[in-house]
């Protein structure tokens, strides 16, 4: 019966999810990677990953199938909201449930609380007020492939990020329902992913008091008006607006409240920057002893279109478009250049979807002479912070938080 029910479910979910969703039984969806369609950094011999469609996903750049590491093509950032089926996928460990049964799934809240909770998804939705907000989720290693010298870690281009409308309940309301004790200092959170071998540190994250008391940290059950894709953490994902994605625990299973600090590998050893204001060291230097956790996003913009190496005819109109974001102060201006940074002008900003959202921008121009044209984008926020030019980009040994002004080259005939 279990088998039958599963099969029936899969069929009906195919119908209800609509024809756009591809459930590939195997690698029949393989599309050969087109060399040159991913931006080429300095590493010209870089491996071109295949593009693959996973369940509920369009074909994405597959850096790994297990754990799945799927990168969004940069063209998707021509819009301020990243569709669920193009949203990047990144897990740390390979044991990921293929089935979430809501009859048995529970989110537990325990530790330094008076009333431990075991919440079903239905209870979570009915007991707490729902909130919605747009927020950018960006992997700490996004754009790592731009660092020189190279830093180890997944060599993402710009596609380990996305912006969605998240709907869920406030973390602090859930903690209040558990009667969190006033002396609580940290939360330890983990999801359902597990390492293959027991000796590998599990993926857990810690949030401190200021963070878990924020009113905009939410436990989300919806993304862009739909249930989360399983690969993005169905049924629940933590949303920490303005923070890098390592804090956004997927398939959230357990919230453990601590009254004092306790070391957790993926907060205290991994995802760290040098402890100075820039979070940097001289290029090539090792990680210093003093480090700090990677937390707030830094100001960034990415050019989505035209496509890298696109061929355009002189006199044709070109729409340059992309997104910009920061840690929540708000984007004030996006400067663009079509002469590799010699001169700059302001792009048009689309409507503001909120402080933590992508701000779409665009600029239309008509190239007048033929040759290679390098366009650039550079965002400024309301604090006056501006993206560094690539030559001035600080370097850190783990290759986190790349945020230099973006550039993209096209051919004008």
């Amino acid at each position: 019966m279990t088998d039958m029910r599963r099969r029936v479910f899969i069929q009906s979910s195919l119908v209800s999810l609509g024809a756009g969703i591809i459930c590939t039984p195997a690698w029949s969806q393989k599309i050969n990677a087109l060399s040159g369609s991913m931006e080429q950094g300095s590493a010209s011999e870089a491996f071109q990953p295949p593009m693959m469609a996973f369940p509920e996903k369009k074909p994405l750049w597959m850096h790994s199938d297990s754990p799945p590491l799927l990168e969004t093509p940069r063209e998707a950032f021509a819009s301020a909201v990243t569709p669920n089926d193009e949203f990047f996928v990144r897990w740390h460990h390979a044991v990921i449930p293929d089935t979430i049964d809501l009859k048995t799934y529970r989110l537990s809240v325990s530790g330094n609380v008076d009333t431990p909770l075991e919440l079903s998804l239905a209870e979570l939705k009915s007991r707490f007020e729902s909130v919605e907000l747009y927020a950018v989720k960006q992997c700490g290693g996004n754009s790592r492939s731009n660092f020189s010298p190279v830093t180890s870690g997944i060599q993402w281009h710009h596609g380990a990020m996305g912006c969605a409308l998240w709907k869920g309940v406030r973390l602090r309301d859930v903690l209040a329902a558990a009667k969190i004790k006033p002396n609580s200092e940290f939360l330890k959170l983990n999801g359902l992913e597990r390492p293959i071998l027991p000796g590998t540190p599990p993926f857990m994250r810690k949030l401190d008091k200021d963070e878990f008391n924020r009113e905009d940290v939410i436990i989300a059950y919806q993304m862009n008006g739909e249930d989360l894709p399983l690969l993005n953490g169905y049924p629940l994902v933590l949303i920490v607006p303005g923070y890098f994605a390592d804090n956004w625990v997927k398939m959230l299973e357990r919230i453990d409240v601590l009254d004092k600090d306790e070391p957790v590998f993926y907060t205290d050893k991994a995802y760290r920057l040098p402890a100075n204001p820039f979070g940097s060291v001289a290029p090539g230097d090792p990680m210093p002893k003093d480090t700090r956790a990677l937390k707030a996003l830094n100001i960034k913009s990415v050019i989505a279109t035209p496509s890298e190496n696109a061929v355009i005819h002189r006199g044709d109109q070109v729409e340059m478009a992309g997104v910009a974001f920061d840690a929540g102060y708000g984007i004030k201006e996006v400067l663009v250049s079509i002469d590799h940074g010699k001169s700059w002008t302001s792009a048009t900003l689309d409507k503001d979807l909120g402080p933590y959202a992508f701000r779409r921008w665009s600029y239309t121009f008509t190239p007048s002479k033929s040759g290679i044209l390098t366009m650039m984008s550079r965002a400024i926020n309301r604090l006056g912070e501006i993206q560094p030019l690539p030559a001035n980009m600080e370097w850190n040994p783990s290759g986190y938080a790349w945020n230099a002004a973006d550039h993209l080259t096209i051919n004008v005939l």
Partner: protein, 114 residues
């Protein structure tokens, strides 16, 4: 008669079977949640040569995609990376195997940079 008898008993069996299906469906609510079929393993083809057997250990916890994705890198990069797998993640790799793996990576995925 015999044939009819078989047909009849088959029919009865079928009926019973469908009744039991209905009874069970009524008792247990339909599946609520989500299930996906993970695609079957993709082959990130590694260069064949000395050390190829040993580096199979590098795909216990993750695909070879992780290695290919790094691009061609120098010896100190691969030494550091291999050692990190053992130290930080508890990869079951002996010191002898570690040497074989580093030589393999340097030979097939190395560069001349210092």
């Amino acid at each position: 008669m015999k044939i009819i008898g078989i047909t009849q008993s088959l029919a009865i069996l079928f009926l019973l079977a469908s009744l039991s299906v209905n009874a069970e469906d009524a008792a247990t609510p339909p599946f609520a949640g989500k299930t996906i079929d993970f695609p079957k393993a993709y082959v990130y083809q590694m260069q064949k040569g000395e050390g190829y057997e040993t580096i199979q250990k590098c795909s216990i916890c993750h695909s070879f995609g992780y290695i290919l994705n790094q691009g061609k890198q120098n010896r100190s990069f691969w030494e550091h990376e291999t050692h990190k797998m053992i130290e930080a993640y508890n990869a079951p790799i002996s010191p002898e195997e570690e040497k074989v793996i580093v030589s393999y990576l340097v030979k097939f995925y190395g560069n001349d940079k210092k």
